[in-house]
Symmetry: C2
């Protein structure tokens, strides 16, 4: 017996997501199309890759624990003071810091049923009590989130805009009203991991401030640096400074800082990437339509494809695609779990999806028909 | 007001170490000799640098959250089962995971006064109660640590072997006796960050197991990858699996995993690095002796240099060296704070130390004499 805290003893040894590598080890072959983790298969700015290769030669030195250069560049990018920025090991790392600051035994926290599981993992990990509200028309339901937060006296409200896993969004006006209505007992976490892909109307100005608002952004998606673990919060100086109470000060790796800085400054690559992602999403929609599936409107770099069936068929479809070398994932709860989720990527990856989707769908529907 | 937990509200926004970059920003110039963070200035295996540069091009993909390849390689390196290995974001990241598993409000934790401050930061951060025992003859005092742990019913005992900041060590026999005596209520954290530099007699065999023993090792020091944040625990499968309850599963960056794997396998570079570090420590001792200072015996990649004065002079010396472009640090508590701590490095860095030490020491002693 090891003397774990009562909370730690009560937690499962769990994992929010099984990685594609584990699936590849299980199936004994690499995926031919890695489209399941909302990664940016259009890759990373060549200037960022070069900056990381250069920084690798200095990897014997710790990274700057204050992330000064990166913070300054982010602040300049948005025209906000650097004191409003907090940098962390991806949004996942920041969610850990933030839940740790606000959640203890029994703290009520409000999110949507089927929203980001890693947030739930951290809330549970600090002993919080998750209160969930359902999606409404495949979007997170702002009014229901607010109602639940007021009713439960929640300390945290989580909203992703655009949403993962559905790709749907709310316009900036709706967000502005939500922010005006943040209850006094609550901090709003606005997870904007995918916001760079969103239409202008869904992009809330960075000048919008509130003492209990934390906006989370990342280099993992639009900047193609998922593997480097760099995210940031834009919030108040008071909040950003509170992160220093508990964060792993040397946690953001030196090469990651260099890569993020260079990626942020490569506007040309960024613009082409946005166009490539848009075209790929159009093609994913066409591939889906050719097999009787419907693409939901998407403000992200992925598309939720409505199978027209239920979660059982969608799960069978994910498995059948995986067996054929196509890695995708799907929403966790009904009725969103009628969909599968496919990330934008270059044509050579979408060709594989195109070639395999028909047979995989036939297999998924027949397996389920037999089982039924 | 933001609704922090009572524990979070009670914590200072602190930083265990001010980074050299912050000092460089303050002095308006880069250091000429970066010898203060126990980094390995002999650098990283060229094979590891190449592996990282290659991996940078795949940075759009998340790293394997199971760290499978790296774990397997570490297991093979030591001839132990992979289930005994837990990988994390440096020893700092692992210390956060471990304190979180074992420390809650008021949990007693035993360490040495003046030992690793980042461990203390995490213990305080989870509300633990630190109980410290003094060093004895510049070494951590195993008997005193055990006595305090029994008296306080401590949940964690922290011992670094070799020790940081003094560079001193205990032989494997003493460690074996300590491990046999771990109280039933306690887990022993044996921090072996510097063990690869230690004499064979101070290297405890990896076959030594105990249900409440966690050994911590890192790629930051001997493998020259401080900037990449990769550490690992060798412990029981039960303990390693408990890490999965709370760790940031995608936290170890993809490029870092690739670099650590390649560094572990470059035995030739490793052997030459050990010889280089040894020679540099001899030279640091000679430089110190030429200015009337004494090098303590060191089982690490750094040397504690006894100034022959007290903490006031040593602090003034660290400041005077910093003003002259030489970054070093020093122990935090008396009487160890009579020393400064200098990392091994190539001759061009030690040349700077050699050139500046005399004047810096004269300045430090005269300033203190005037102040006195």
């Amino acid at each position: 017996m090891i003397p774990l805290t009562p909370l730690a003893a009560s937690l499962p040894s769990t994992v929010p997501f099984v990685g594609p590598e584990a699936q590849e080890r299980a199936r004994g072959a690499p995926f031919r199309a890695r489209l399941g983790a909302n990664e940016n298969a259009f890759g990373t700015s060549p200037r960022a890759i070069e900056a990381m290769a250069r920084a690798a030669a200095e990897a014997w030195q710790y990274g700057d624990p204050e992330n000064f250069d990166l913070k300054s560049a982010i602040a300049e990018h948005y025209g906000v003071p650097a004191a409003r920025i907090g940098v962390g090991e991806g949004i996942d790392g920041l969610l850990q810091v933030i839940t740790r600051l606000f959640v203890t035994d029994g703290t009520p926290v409000v999110t949507s049923a089927g929203a980001y599981p890693t947030f739930n993992y951290h809330v549970n990990g600090f002993g919080g009590r998750l209160v969930t509200v359902p999606y409404r028309d495949d979007r997170e339901d702002i009014d229901a989130l607010l109602d639940a937060a007021r009713r439960e006296k929640a300390a945290l409200i989580y909203l992703a805009n655009p949403d993962n896993p559905m790709g749907t969004w709310h316009d900036a006006d709706a967000l502005r009203r939500l922010i005006e209505d943040i209850p006094e007992h609550a901090v709003l976490l606005l997870d904007e991991a995918y916001v760079e892909f969103a239409p202008a109307a869904a992009q809330l100005a960075m000048s919008v401030e509130h003492p209990r608002l934390i906006r989370l952004r990342t280099f993992s998606k639009a900047y193609g640096l998922a593997g480097m673990r760099v995210g940031y919060a834009v919030t108040t100086p008071e909040m950003a400074s509170a992160f220093d109470k508990v964060r792993n000060h040397f946690g953001v790796n030196r090469v990651a800082q260099a890569g993020a800085l260079a990626a942020l400054q490569d506007h040309k690559f960024f613009r082409r990437m946005l166009a490539d992602v848009h075209a790929a999403k159009v093609r994913i929609g066409a591939i889906a339509a050719a097999h009787g599936m419907t693409a939901l409107p998407s403000a992200t770099n992925f598309v939720a494809l409505d199978t027209g069936f239920d979660g059982t068929v969608a799960r069978a479809l994910v498995a059948a695609l995986s067996a054929r070398g196509v890695f995708v994932r799907m929403p966790f709860v009904a009725p969103q779990d009628r969909c599968i989720r496919v990330a934008a990527g270059p044509d050579e990856l979408l060709d594989v999806l195109d070639a395999e989707l028909g047979a995989a769908l036939a297999e998924a529907t027949s397996v389920v028909a037999v089982a039924g």
